[in-house]
Amino acid sequence: MADRTVAEIIERDQSELLKEWIRRQKEDLSSRQDVSDAELQTDSRNLLAALRETIKSDAQTDIHSSEWARVRDLLADLSRRRVLQGFAPSQTATFVLSLKQPLFDRLVATVGSNMKVLTEQIWFVTALLDKLALFTTEVFQKTREELISRQQQEMMELSTPVVELWHGILALPLIGTLDSNRTQVVMQNLLEAIVSKEADIAIIDITGVPTVDTLVAQHLLKTVAAARLMGAECIISGIRPQIAQTIIHLGVDLGNVITKATLADAFKIALRTRKLTVTSM
């Protein structure tokens, strides 16, 4: 009824709408050369078609309902591409918002004499496009976060290699600040290395870690417990005086975890446990 006017306009005036809309998009994208004309045309045409279909079916403006799935998918896809092309979030929102003015112009031309209907229509279009623009921005943010998180993960894995000191003896020299996320990744790596290298002793050296908070201490202890369940023992080495104090103050119970001041000491213990000694030739 009220909404179908918009659908009819889109159907009837599609080519003008498209032209006007794309012109506005290009204005906003001005200096960017990396989105081809063809891409703009395809994206805009697809969205317009999807909008027409959905509005025609008398859909409400709850864009998260299943009726809007096609529109959401199109916008999500576009948004993700824009992240990878290095766009700003506002530019992705503008893709949707710049459709407002062309639609308003058409509405005025079509139902301009009827104030009531005109107002209803403009409200409908505004509410809808605002929601879609927000959705696009959310997907953009999430995609960007996932990208950054993936890159961080790769950096983390590269920066904390697990070293095999001897058959069955692993060392994990941790360097830099440990946050909750990084600690979890690092600990997973250690446990997997224990399996792949068939290690029964793992030395976790925290000489290069400036501070340890309760969460990190707990993760360390959980890793030691998990390694034990898998049949490997952990030694924590490199606990500097400040960290030792922090651990006491936080009331963290190291239980029966062996701790040594230096990695060298820890290695000595590990060798002894394996009934190995170092001799000169």
Binding site: L191, E192, I194, E198, K222, A226, L229, M230, G231, A232
Partner: protein, 130 residues
């Protein structure tokens, strides 16, 4: 109902758990193992859980029960091959599997069993004859 096969490896028994066990199967395994420890006079039990991707409190208790019952029957138990994600989850769950010894794989588990039997035998030898 299928039963979990128990293999004999010299003086030890080897159980490989490869299915998603329902409770009845787990209880049946406990019973089977107990009677086999007695009938074969086994000195150790190896439980290979490398194929288990879930250990909940029921399975955890089963493992602890097997270890306890075996000990009463003078056999040591070693659980081998726990997957990292299972180990992490168990720690989070708060299950510590008390009384259950663990090793990385069957080889290491066997070494552990032999060592523990060897030390026991030598202790026994050193006891004075009354």
């Amino acid at each position: 109902m299928d039963k979990i096969p128990i293999l004999r490896l010299g003086r030890f028994l080897l159980v490989t758990i490869q299915v998603d066990m329902h409770d009845r199967l787990a209880l049946a395994l406990q019973d089977d193992l107990t009677s086999q420890i007695v009938s074969t006079r086994a000195q150790g039990v190896l439980i290979d859980i490398s194929a288990l991707d879930i250990i909940d409190s029921f399975i955890g208790r089963m493992l602890a029960n097997i270890a306890n019952m075996a000990r009463i029957l003078d056999a040591e138990t070693v659980v081998v091959g726990m997957q990292p994600s299972v180990a992490i989850t168990l720690v989070e769950l708060g299950l510590s599997l008390p009384g259950v010894r663990t090793a990385l794989n069957v080889d290491r588990g066997m070494q552990l069993l032999r060592l523990s039997r060897a030390s026991e035998d030598s202790d026994f030898d050193r006891r004075p004859i009354p």
